[in-house]
Symmetry: C2
Subunit: 204 residues, 2 copies
């Protein structure tokens, strides 16, 4: 399955954006401000791994492979493939024996976070994770303000339900400030979401 | 990064094998005997999900994307990409709040299981998962006998260490019978590994 956004713009997963960004880095245009949420989270997860705090990985981008060439004496080349929609969230792993699962999204909006950043499969998945006792949340970034929030999946599900029942198609910034947890940007780690998890009584 | 096996054979991830197998199914050559370990585990995981027993997913095959075309009014097409080596294991998820992580491999050998089926990155990852209190194991299938075993990562690490120290490059079938847990093939689910996990006192 491959797909476009409703506006006809082709869907391009974050990994590709990441690779383009990495190229810019090599060209010397690297700057902290230009780092994507994904890069910040990858750095954060590396920090957690290095310090033996938690083991969290981003899942590979799902790709539907259509045609593969097998040249003699060299590696297989994928000649035709399409981006697929993910059936789960992008990040998962283990913290103190517990299962951790989250999705990360950013918006250019300044007053609300559009729910179209998530899709129904991911919402189902988050519900399932909660039902099985996992720790599940989303990390939301307002890029204009460089503000990052952790919002527990329980709350996201309520906002999603509101939309499904005909309500607004976004979460207002005020709602995120109320129900979510602000994560101040740091140097190491960049986005210290585990500190928030520690305050949320999962381990009491 | 793309790579060949030491024998010069190109590396082809299981997903591709899976797709080829699915094609055979469509041609009417489907048989239970012909099901790959991956297909059996996917069915098993679907069963667990449907029955609300556990949420376990296979990670997508990691692919290094080199060139993408963006045709007007249609989906992005990946025109050049390579298979990458995975940095973690293939399966993970949540069972009773706990983090579960495993790798599945099969061999045509009849007397031992070659350790070249795993790579150093995966061994590191398993070690890390154990250090963080996750449940980690491998599922090993002797395809000739249609016998499946669950071997806890703790034991795999000992056999790996033995190899690194100059010892044998495989685990003998006797060792797997002794240290591992035989999983009788079922109809639903096909490979009931959660039943073994239940006997291993992780939840006492």
């Amino acid at each position: 399955m491959n797909f476009n956004y409703p506006n006809g713009k082709p869907y391009i997963p974050k990994d590709t954006a990441h690779e383009i960004n990495m190229k810019n880095k090599k060209n010397g245009t690297y700057s902290n401000r230009g780092m994507t949420l994904e890069e910040d989270l990858n750095e954060t997860n590396e920090y957690y791994r290095g310090r033996k705090i938690a083991i969290i990985h981003k899942k590979p981008t799902p790709v539907q492979i259509v045609q593969v060439d097998y040249p003699k004496r060299s590696a297989a080349v994928i000649k035709e493939a399409y981006f697929k929609q993910a059936s789960t969230t992008d990040y998962n792993g283990v913290y103190k024996g517990k299962y951790i699962d989250f999705e990360a999204k950013e918006t250019q909006n300044t007053t609300s976070f559009p729910l179209k950043n998530f899709h129904q499969h991911q919402i189902y998945h988050m519900e399932e994770v909660l039902n099985h006792g996992g720790i599940c949340f989303v990390i939301l970034r307002f890029t204009r303000y460089e503000q990052v929030y952790l919002l527990e999946a329980e709350h996201l599900l309520v906002f999603w339900e509101r939309m499904v029942n005909g309500g607004r198609k976004s979460i207002t910034k005020e709602e995120i400030e109320q129900k979510g947890h602000y994560i101040p940007l740091g140097f190491q780690p960049r986005i210290d979401y585990i500190r928030i998890i520690d305050t949320l009584f999962y381990f009491s």
